[in-house]
């Protein structure tokens, strides 16, 4: 198992995702001899997990069962332990596309936070790219390093515990893309520019507040960035449901010789309704291109 490569069989030391039902999942680390409690009973790692195929059903001690899933960055995003507010898949997907990330890309990111976006980036740039991620908070930086190791991706990432606005990303002229999710991104634009390759690259800044966006756009313009573009993306989830709609009774038809239909007083429809409230605002995404020097 790794977050950047699929495998078929569960092994000791793997991180797996236990699926207990709708919107109920949890990550666990597989260890010989260990046990995990689920709502359907206990799972014994040695007999129930190790050697089983990812995607199989596992029967728990109380008789109920769960599915064991191979981890992916998307599953990780909804199951990871939050140390900060995180980025969700909708934003992550657009960032990935618009920064043109692909295998081999060299990416700079700050702040690392809880590693939600980091895992997604690592998956996309593997096996030949590299992620330079900067985290201001010492403990979070340490936790991130631990997780990357456990998830078997540490060869693709360098975590630096420093202030990106003062000290930059720790590298210059090698990045294809830079991502900023910090309170004052305009203070890091100079460093973003110097981190990017001479031939140019892409930058993205994520900010919850429009005032931050305005200052960032100004800084990008002053530093010679082009194609500056700010957008936000919202995902709408449709709930598929079966509804029963009653039919009206207009009384028996005059000319009709048919036997009056007393049976069908309702119709069953399969439909989908958007939720009452749409997903809230996460943040604005500002993209720009650094042209060739």
């Amino acid at each position: 198992m790794s977050f950047v490569e699929y495998s078929e069989i569960i092994q000791e030391g793997d991180v797996v995702i236990i699926f207990q039902g709708h919107e109920s999942m949890m990550p666990i680390k597989v260890q010989s001899g260990a046990q995990t409690q689920t709502r359907y009973g206990a799972i014994r790692h040695s007999s129930d997990l190790i050697g089983q195929r990812f995607g199989s059903k596992v029967t728990c001690s109380k008789g109920g069962w769960v599915y064991v899933l191979h981890p992916t960055p998307e599953l990780w995003t909804v199951n990871l332990p939050h140390r900060t507010q995180i980025l969700y898949t909708t934003d992550i997907a657009n960032i990935t596309l618009m920064l043109e990330l692909k295998p081999g890309s060299v990416v700079c990111e700050s702040g690392t936070g809880s590693g939600s976006l980091s895992h997604s980036i690592l998956r996309t740039i593997a096996p030949t790219g590299h992620l330079h991620t900067v985290e201001f908070h010492a403990q979070r930086a340490e936790k991130a390093m631990q997780e990357f190791k456990e998830h078997k991706v540490s060869h693709l990432v360098t975590v630096r515990n420093q202030d990106v606005c003062k000290d930059g990303f720790g590298i210059t002229g090698i990045a294809d893309a830079v991502f900023l999710d910090i309170p004052s991104p305009w203070e890091a634009i100079t460093h973003a520019k110097s981190a990017i390759k001479r031939k140019g690259g892409r930058v993205c800044s994520f900010s919850p507040c429009i005032e931050q966006v305005q200052r960032t756009c100004e800084a990008l313009l002053d530093h010679g960035f082009e194609e500056i573009c700010t957008l936000e993306v919202l995902l709408r989830v449709h709930d598929v449901r079966t509804v029963t709609l009653p039919l009206p009774d207009f009384g028996p038809e005059e000319d009709s010789t048919d036997i009056p239909n007393t049976g069908n007083t309702s119709v069953i429809c399969r439909t989908a309704t958007p939720p009452r409230e749409m997903a809230g605002h996460t943040g604005y995404l500002t993209f720009a291109t650094k042209p060739r020097d």
Binding site: L69, P103, L235
Partner: protein, 443 residues
């Protein structure tokens, strides 16, 4: 083999044969650089020959006669210049001295920067922003025609929800002219394999070609005809020579031309030919016929080999993902192709319309074998960001189509229904048992 990311100028120069993206303001167009070939863009005809050897990202002017001329380099520190040189005038910012630039001011600046008839063109890095920006640029023009198609934010979701990454084995079925296929291939970086399923005669790949992948990428790309899926699933796929050609038409047309050639040569071979010139011509025709037959044999063999290699990849039923984005009804496509996917792998289906995906959702619930089903669409809003003039400018909603995504699991239909009623919110649970054949037949 890794696609090296070296920062050398040699890599960044335009060559003949390259697929490039022409950019003027917000309008993009993908073209191939060919010798003395006229290109049309933004109502102008010109030749790209003078661009060869130049760096990607260079700005050109179009001269009378259609040749390109290098535009003088601008000073990067002078932001006012960069606006005059054809940048989007949204970014002409208030410099602090005047509160607002009037429309006249803006016009004056433009005039100062642009001489008379001068038109500025720009060739940019043949990267993939073209596909998302092309979609966006197209969106503006196509809005009037009220056409709906795959928007780039939807494409972004497809690639991420599908966990498309290097080294995996992905099945793709699309009718988006190869755009989705190309995007998937780009995210796989030449590692792993992509199997493109195709209806009819052959796969469409024009859009994929525009990505300009290095040749080794093409070795990871396979194709398999839909019409042979059932045979493959049943284990009865015939990979012998005569079955290699999935398209009967081309075979018979070749045969007819062969037959007619025979007919032409027959009467002459029956005559005792004394004319040496006639003899030469006959030998020549014979040689050509043999050559063509040989070429046809080679082609058939190639096709057979390709079919066999695609079949080999599929029959293990252990693909790492499935992406569907087509004009076909997604339900049968999904149910048919999911059989080739391993458990605990993601799948994503795009459809312009919602109802067909509701059907897919329902069928999957009945059948089991898939969890975390989600039917979504995304809204995209652009902002103009200027001091004192910041506001949204464009809302793209609804027109981007819908996505159904989920994860496969080991199939076990009977239990799936009974225990995991907790999978759906309460309201649905009551009606779940009422999913009747009337829903299927109403489709």
């Amino acid at each position: 083999m890794a696609e090296c990311v070296k920062d050398s100028d040699a890599e960044g120069r335009i060559s003949y044969g390259d697929y490039v993206v022409l950019k003027r303001g917000d309008v993009f167009k993908s073209v191939q650089v060919e010798n003395k070939k006229k290109v049309i863009f933004e109502k102008q005809w010109f030749f790209l020959d003078n661009a060869v050897g130049q760096l990607y990202g260079t700005m050109f002017e179009i001269e009378a006669g259609g040749s390109l001329k290098l535009k003088a380099a601008k000073h990067s520190g002078d932001s006012l210049d960069s606006k005059e040189a054809g940048q989007d005038n949204r970014h002409i910012v208030d410099d602090g001295r005047s509160q607002k630039l009037s429309r006249d001011d803006i016009e004056t600046l433009k005039e100062q920067g642009l001489k008379g008839q001068e038109i500025v063109q720009q060739l940019i890095d043949n990267s993939t922003t073209f596909k998302d920006k092309t979609e966006f640029a197209q969106e503006k023009y196509i809005k009037k025609k009220k056409k709906n198609h795959l928007r780039y934010d939807t494409l972004a979701q497809v690639l991420t929800l599908g966990n498309i990454h290097a080294g995996s084995k992905i099945i793709v079925f699309e009718t988006c002219a190869g755009l989705v296929l190309g995007s998937v291939m780009e995210r796989m970086g030449g590692y792993g394999s992509v199997i493109q399923m195709y209806p009819g005669g052959g796969p469409t790949r024009a859009g994929m070609e525009s990505f300009g992948f290095p040749s080794h990428f093409h070795q990871t790309l396979h194709e398999f005809p839909l019409c042979k899926v059932n045979a493959l699933l049943a284990g009865t796929l015939d990979l012998s020579e005569k079955d290699a050609d999935g398209n009967g038409r081309s075979e018979s047309s070749q045969e007819t031309s062969g037959v007619s050639e025979e007919k032409n040569s027959e009467p002459q071979s029956m005559e005792v030919s004394v004319d040496p010139q006639e003899e030469v011509r006959r030998a020549e025709r014979e040689r050509l016929r043999e050559q063509r037959a040989q070429e046809k044999k080679v082609k058939m063999e190639e096709k057979r080999k390709k079919l066999a290699s695609a079949a080999a990849l599929l029959e293990g039923r252990n693909a790492d993902g499935l992406v569907i984005a087509s004009r076909f009804h997604p339900c049968p496509v999904l149910m048919g192709l999911l059989k080739f996917v391993a458990p605990s792998r993601p799948f994503v289906v795009y459809c312009q319309y919602r109802e067909p995906l509701i059907e897919c959702y329902t069928k999957l619930r009945e059948q089991g074998g898939a969890i975390s089903l989600r039917l979504t669409d995304s809204w995209l809003r652009h902002y103009q960001v200027l001091p004192n003039r910041t506001h949204p400018v464009l809302l793209m909603s609804g027109g981007g189509g819908y996505l159904l995504s989920g994860t496969t699991v080991a199939a076990d239909a009977a239990k799936a229904r009974n225990q995991h009623k907790a999978e759906e919110p309460v309201a649905k649970r009551l009606k779940l048992d009422k999913i009747s054949s009337s829903c299927d037949s109403s489709a």
